[in-house]
Symmetry: C2
């Protein structure tokens, strides 16, 4: 066995910035334009405004071995695409039996979850919210506030990402703006 060394990473509550810097991935509208229910709105924004940053995540990379717990931050910018709030792509874990823990640092968010058997859940998060994504649940986070929504997360190194079914059909529930406030709506693709 090769021994991993302990270390500390400083996480910005308002920015999600990691110090020292680690891996950083940005998702722009063009990376997920097909994932919003109103694809025409996504195309209009791309044409008129350019390629908007939707979210970024930063995380420490660790060996892909049992018991290693990678962790990092996600920052979702405020805004909407045709009335659907900015969100992450969302995924199942490739190893379905792996859970995940989110911890809210700033802003207001919604955690959408669903199982392959059709169960759904939606949980609100804010600073200090510890949200549990149990094994077998796909998960997506949504910014329902006017500021950045930032949270910290911890997962197991072998969990892996499975984006395929979500990229094709999205989540069963959408988080949309209704009279200026967030509300859940049914995704017509699952009708």
């Amino acid at each position: 066995m090769s021994l991993s060394l302990p270390f500390v990473t400083q996480v910005g509550f308002d920015s999600g910035t990691l110090r020292p810097p680690h891996k950083r991935i940005q998702r722009r509208l063009s990376d997920m334009a097909l994932m919003y229910a109103d694809r025409a709105a996504a195309q209009r924004i791309l044409a008129q405004e350019g390629d908007r940053l939707i979210y970024e995540y930063q995380f420490v990379e660790l060996p892909s071995a049992e018991g290693q717990l990678p962790h990092g931050s996600t920052r979702i910018l405020p805004g909407d695409i045709g009335g659907e709030y900015h969100m992450t792509k969302g995924h199942y874990h490739a190893r379905r039996e792996q859970g995940e823990v989110y911890f809210g640092l700033s802003g207001r968010g919604m955690l959408l979850l669903q199982t392959e058997q059709g169960a759904t859940s939606a949980l609100e998060m804010s600073a200090g919210s510890a949200a549990y994504v149990p094994p077998y649940w796909a998960h997506r986070t949504v910014n329902i506030g006017a500021e950045d929504f930032v949270f910290f997360s911890v997962w197991e190194a072998r969990a892996g990402h499975d984006y395929a079914s979500i990229e094709r059909d999205g989540f069963r529930q959408l988080v949309v703006m209704r009279d200026g406030a967030p509300a859940l709506a049914q995704n017509p693709k699952y009708a």
Copy 2:
């Protein structure tokens, strides 16, 4: 398989209090009087002041299955026992290959780590510090500030606790007050 349901727990940044309440464990001086280097000081405090609360932890209980990630908070009260700062008992994981992640919520702390092969590490933590306890490292936290030191932690459900060697010999490094500031000292038991 039985499906676990998603849920949110609200964690107090200054208190570590979980809402809704979950499992809560308190450690008083009498639970660990033998773990401080100056046992006479521990006995003196017990006789003169009573059984001081050193720390408490609160956590969500989850099925002991692969991929489940229990999580919770620890609050260590400020103070010292004969010049050694208040600390947790500290432990190895029974399954040595399981890591853990700490996230600082308030106050100032030190994370002490060591391996069975004799490696040691000491990391400072404050609000926003994500500290990684890699597989195979015993870990103990210490309050080196004047306020409560509070942090959030995430571990794997099967990790388990192994207190035995730490209860017998303590950690190789002690965190002691020197001219009013924290400093590392060698534990004479490992001399």
